[in-house]
Symmetry: C2
Subunit: 236 residues, 2 copies
DNA sequence: GGGAATAATATGTCTAGACATAATTTTCGG
DNA sequence: CCGAAAATTATGTCTAGACATATTATTCCC
């Protein structure tokens, strides 16, 4: 814990340390603001700032009249990076290219419509891309882009930038939904990813919305033997 | 956007809406604090609180002298819930039980030591648990608990509460690392999870630390045909 | 004793200032 | 024209109050 230059951060860190060390288990009452004012010799606004930050990060719960208590641990959560392929390859120091296997404007079928929660017959740009590191396929991505929300995609050939990166730079999103599954690759998928038929694959589905209107869905298949999703996290 | 009862939240929400809608793309300059003071007719502290919150959530970047700008979009991230089995089953309205297949105090082997980054020969409690919903196995969990960090685990039989929930209630953690992979179940794993050999499974590895000292590792195998990890997220 | 009114308490929001600090622009001397 | 010093600007931190509001404890009347 670095020596904080400012008081509210120092107060925050000292309380945080006691909670994370287990010295103050869940349910413990935090000293009330006037006590902390006296202890640190500062104004109430300053301790309030520290406590508000702790409440925002979920470490404590503040209640009027009764004061603040250490919050119960939340469900563990994992935060996973969903890497941009070009950037990921550059970081790993391998060459990157992608092949567009398929690019077509089509109307949303019933299965996809139900998955996405949109009426069928909406115009979508459907693209299938294989991402390749050093000549080896690392992911097969099937993507739908809502042309009503992103009309510019209709005239984009995605020759230089893959669809995912293109969207990321251009279209803001406000909500996303993810599902991660394991499936056995069928013959076609196995061929595309240069693996044996039946081999386990990670299927990552990602759907994004902008202010309630659907933007895009990506269903990305990663070879199980070559890829894992990793993440680091701190509690609450 | 709900009408905020308080001003700093309203200011925050109005700016947030403009950013998420794309009206203010990355790089756009946010009105400086004195402009916002004039616009909302309030003190500087109030607009500062709104802008600080936006900066904390990563939506804007604040810089002295030049003012604040809308931040560039970050890498998409997925937040996944790692559910507690008992709670998850209760929510889903199914019965829950678990079987302890194996429980032994042992010394850390070289492979696990390397995976965890701890010297070999550390004393660990090794437990294997199968989690069962309505008579159907839904996960096979192999867990290591560092007895140096959690000595109380040595005398715990885990008859009523499974090891994961037991730890969650008792032991605080400050850092976690996750890896998610897809693997083909071997004969033994397939038998335990009542699935065909070779079927695709999700393998979720989770390791947690408390202030630098290792607490526990869980390697949980989910049947690919019955389980997916899902999450919802907002950007930044 | 029960229930309603009242008091006490801790947080929530906000103000109108102050000084500090970082970064840029302007000024000025050579 | 160049580089150093000074001024300017916007944010960062902090104070000492104020009133609002939610919640619990107490008092008082029936």
């Amino acid at each position: 814990m670095a020596a904080a230059p400012n008081l509210h951060q120092r107060i925050r860190e000292e309380i945080e340390a006691r909670i994370l060390s287990g010295e103050w288990p869940p349910g413990t009452r935090i000293p009330v603001e006037h006590e902390l004012m006296a202890r640190y010799g500062c104004a109430r606004m300053t301790v309030s700032k520290a406590l508000s930050a702790l409440a925002t990060s979920g470490l404590i719960q503040r209640r009027r009249r009764t004061g603040s208590v250490v919050a119960a641990p939340t469900q563990p959560r994992a935060i996973l990076q969903i890497p941009d392929f070009a950037q990921d390859a550059a970081t790993a120091g391998v060459s990157y290219r992608f092949d567009i296997l398929h690019r077509k404007v089509e109307r949303l079928g019933p299965a996809a419509a139900q998955r996405i929660g949109l009426p069928a017959d909406q115009e979508m740009l459907s693209i299938e891309t294989v991402h390749i590191y050093d000549g080896e396929p690392v992911a097969d991505e099937r993507r739908l882009i809502n042309l009503a929300a992103v009309p510019a995609a209709r005239d984009e050939a995605f020759e230089r930038i893959p669809p995912g990166s293109w969207l990321l730079e251009r279209v803001p999103w406000s909500d996303a939904e993810h599902a991660i599954r394991a499936i056995n690759a069928n013959a076609e998928q196995a061929r595309r990813l240069a693996m044996a038929a039946g081999a386990a694959c990670l299927l990552v589905e990602r759907r994004t919305w902008q202010a309630g209107s659907f933007i895009t869905e990506a269903r990305t298949l990663y070879p199980g033997d070559r890829h894992s999703l990793i993440g680091r996290f701190s509690p609450r």
